[in-house]
């Protein structure tokens, strides 16, 4: 059942400050084998992956630290993806990236998927500058699996 979401209709833009390692990690996450059939550029899939990555980082870094990072990452990524200005950051146990469905309805799945990838690349780049790209990848890729499992197990 697993499929690979890897096709890109057009080159995506990167936010200033986004480094190759951050972008590569974001793309690696977004193109990992999916559990369900999803079309290339599927915003729902990318939203789920982004949500898992964010949860993994929040678990390690704490809510306050992660919130500060995400806020700055979204602000930087907005330069390339203005629709990110409309993203609401959820509180407590709510989804970290709120109102994505509304954004998809307004801007289309491809644009939202690209924006999410840009936001994650910006987030990973920012974090990589602080603790090293190698450690970001380990925190996200390892813990994203745990977060995925946890969220799927949650009622």
């Amino acid at each position: 059942m697993a499929s690979v979401v890897s096709l890109r209709m057009e080159p995506r833009q990167s936010a200033p400050g986004t480094v190759a390692e951050g972008l590569a990690l974001a793309r690696r996450l977004m193109t990992r084998p999916a559990e369900t059939e999803e079309a290339p550029g599927n915003a729902a899939f990318e939203a789920r992956i982004s949500e898992h990555a964010c949860r993994a980082l929040k678990r390690s870094l704490g809510a306050t630290g992660f919130h500060a990072l995400l806020t700055r990452a979204l602000a930087e990524a907005q330069l390339a993806h203005p629709l990110l200005a409309e993203v609401r950051i959820g509180q407590q146990s709510a989804p970290i990236l709120g109102n994505l469905q509304a954004l998809i309805d307004t801007h289309g799945a491809l644009a939202v998927a690209a924006a999410l990838e840009g936001a994650m690349a910006s987030l990973f780049s920012l974090l990589g500058r602080l603790i090293g790209d190698d450690m970001v990848a380990r925190l996200v890729e390892r813990d994203a699996n745990d977060a995925t499992r946890d969220s799927e197990e949650a009622p």
Binding site: R59, R138, L139
Partner: protein, 572 residues
């Protein structure tokens, strides 16, 4: 995990249990703990901010965590995880490859902010049951335990109950745990101190320009720990602890009757045949009296005898020391290259005696050294952090005890201040730790400044009681015979003694002087006759004649059998 085993006796006394020790990966720490940390113990690392608590815990975690038995590192509200990772990864022990599979960082701040300890406990329990870790760290525990009274009113659990349940749960899951907290000494009635199996107190004291860090194992259940405050240093490699009482001191090597040649002509004779092997010798003298020259010759003689030598310098850079030795035909660089000599130059002004000792002991072990030169004790004392100068005497006592226990012979120099008979060593309070004391001084003889020395003390050994003059020439120091035709040497301004003049000559040893005196009386002599008249063995005569000839006192004919005194250049 890497383990050491510590054998303990069960309480019933009929069976023996093994309490496995967790090797901490912190140099020196396991020695203090009596063989590592007891497995599955519940420990508290306490101390003031910046004392190194987090670094110590991280180092233990990185030394032990594996993918099979990972470590869970819970952060709470203190140092943000982001910053901790950013700074800790600068240390040599931090291996990013372990982050994720072997070390998982988890944040408890949301639970802590609820002020409900049952939620905190529940989260820790859930994560432990999920990951089945070997090590758990909560950093900083204080942020939710140390709240003022009333702050936990919303909690369904008291602090005492919380700590007990946490400790029990972690031990049941076979976890060695570390809680990190900022505590003041007056807070030791906190229930955590009672429940914890191990309590480690870290402190740092700032004294003038120096900072001294100390660690105390206040309590470790099931272990006979090394008592006292142990110095530690945080370098790029992490924490290194310098145990206060080195293990070597417990196993003192048997003394030997062997004597070591000093390498200073005439000095062995004054010392009854050289320095007894394994002794601690102190050479005290005023500035410029040649202490370092004597020390260097002692080192060079050891190297000549194929011994390994350690020289610890404080007052000059090693390059300068080597260059000066080279000017006296002693090629220290080659000996260093050959692994027979190590020159230790320690960072000045913030040293601890224990740190110095650790470095010397390591060098002694590495090289199998038999001679250690400390040049000088005065410089060593100045190089210490002010806090350690206060107990210099006690610390040096331990240093000398630990070094001599390894069997090495120690040659220390120190500076003298004041005038005879009120002469004082700058480190006089430590003279009791030495076996042998040689004192140098300047004396005026007939309007000229000369150098003399005397053996003040040699523990359990006969030695000369005479003042002897010595000279330092291009080839180093040479000690002459006893000065007999002067009195009042201790005043520094002696007067000629009435009576027949003695036969003391500058730069000659007692044997050389007696050979020369005989020759002067005979005018010319065969070797055999000279040997009989001087009462020496052929070897002793050969040695004395070789130096007398080199110094221009005698001349030998073509076949070397006829010897003649040619001058008395040094007669005094």
């Amino acid at each position: 995990m890497t383990n050491t085993t510590h054998r303990g006796r069960a309480k019933m006394g009929t069976t023996t249990t093994n309490i496995e020790g967790l090797a901490t990966g912190v140099p020196g720490f396991d020695a203090i703990l009596g063989g590592g940390l007891p497995m599955y113990s519940f420990n508290l690392i306490a101390g003031s901010p910046g004392s190194g608590k987090t670094t110590l815990a991280q180092q233990i975690v990185f030394a032990n965590a594996t993918a099979e038995r990972p470590a869970l590192y819970f952060t709470v509200l203190g140092e943000p995880t982001l910053k901790m990772l950013r700074y800790q990864r600068e240390f040599g022990f931090f291996d990013p490859a372990l982050v994720g599979p072997a070390i998982q960082y988890l944040n408890l701040s949301e639970e802590a902010l609820t002020n409900d300890l049952s939620l905190v406990l529940e989260r820790i329990v859930t994560e432990v049951e999920r990951a089945k870790p070997g090590i758990v760290v909560v950093d900083s525990f204080r942020t939710f335990i140390g709240q003022p009274a009333g702050a936990n009113d919303t909690s369904s659990m008291t602090i005492e109950h919380f700590i007990q349940r946490l400790a029990l749960h972690l031990t049941t899951w076979e976890v060695t745990s570390f809680l990190i907290g900022e505590y003041a000494e007056q807070e030791q009635r906190n229930p955590i101190f009672t429940v914890a199996d191990g309590v480690f107190w870290l402190s740092q004291v700032t004294d003038r320009n120096s900072v001294v860090r100390k660690l105390q194992a206040m309590k470790v259940r099931g272990r006979a720990t090394m008592p006292g405050l142990h110095t530690f240093r945080i370098t790029n490699d992490g924490v290194e602890v310098f145990p206060r009482i080195p293990e070597q001191q417990l196993e003192r090597r048997a003394t030997s009757s062997r004597r070591l040649a000093t390498g200073v002509p005439g000095l062995d004779e004054a010392m009854g045949g050289g320095i007894p092997a394994g002794d601690a010798v102190m050479l005290a003298g005023p500035a410029g009296s040649g202490k370092t020259t004597f020390a260097t010759q002692f080192a060079a003689e050891g190297l000549r005898q194929k011994e390994a030598v350690i020289i610890v310098v404080f007052e000059e850079y090693p390059e300068e020391y080597i260059a000066r030795a080279k000017s006296r035909n002693q090629d220290m660089a080659a000996s260093i290259e050959a692994g027979k000599l190590r020159l230790i130059y320690l960072r000045p002004l913030d040293l601890s005696v224990d740190e110095t000792l650790a470095e010397i002991l390591e060098a002694v072990k590495d090289l199998g050294a038999t001679r250690v030169i400390i040049d000088s004790l005065s410089g060593f004392e100045v190089a210490l952090a002010p806090a350690f100068r206060e107990d210099f005497r006690e610390s040096l006592y331990r240093l000398v005890g630990a070094l001599t226990a390894t069997g090495v012979t120690i040659f220390m120099t120190t500076e003298i201040v004041g005038e005879y008979p009120h002469v004082r060593f700058t480190t006089e309070k430590v003279s009791f730790i030495t076996d042998d004391i040689i004192v140098q001084r300047f004396v005026e003889f007939d309007g000229a400044l000369r150098t003399v020395l005397a053996i003040h003390k040699m523990r359990g050994s006969e030695h000369s009681r005479d003042f002897r003059d010595y000279e330092i020439g291009a080839n180093g120091a040479v000690v002459g015979g006893p000065i007999r035709n002067y009195r009042g040497i201790m005043t520094g301004n002696p007067e000629p003694q009435t009576g027949p003049p003695s036969s003391t000559h500058k730069g000659l040893t007692l044997q050389e002087t007696s050979v020369f005196d005989v020759l002067v009386r005979l005018g010319e002599s065969s070797r055999e006759r000279l040997r009989e008249r001087a009462g020496l063995t052929p070897a002793q005569l050969g040695q004395a004649l070789a130096r007398l000839e080199m110094l221009g006192y005698v001349t030998a004919d073509g076949d070397g059998q006829g010897i003649r005194a040619i001058a008395q250049p040094g007669a005094s």
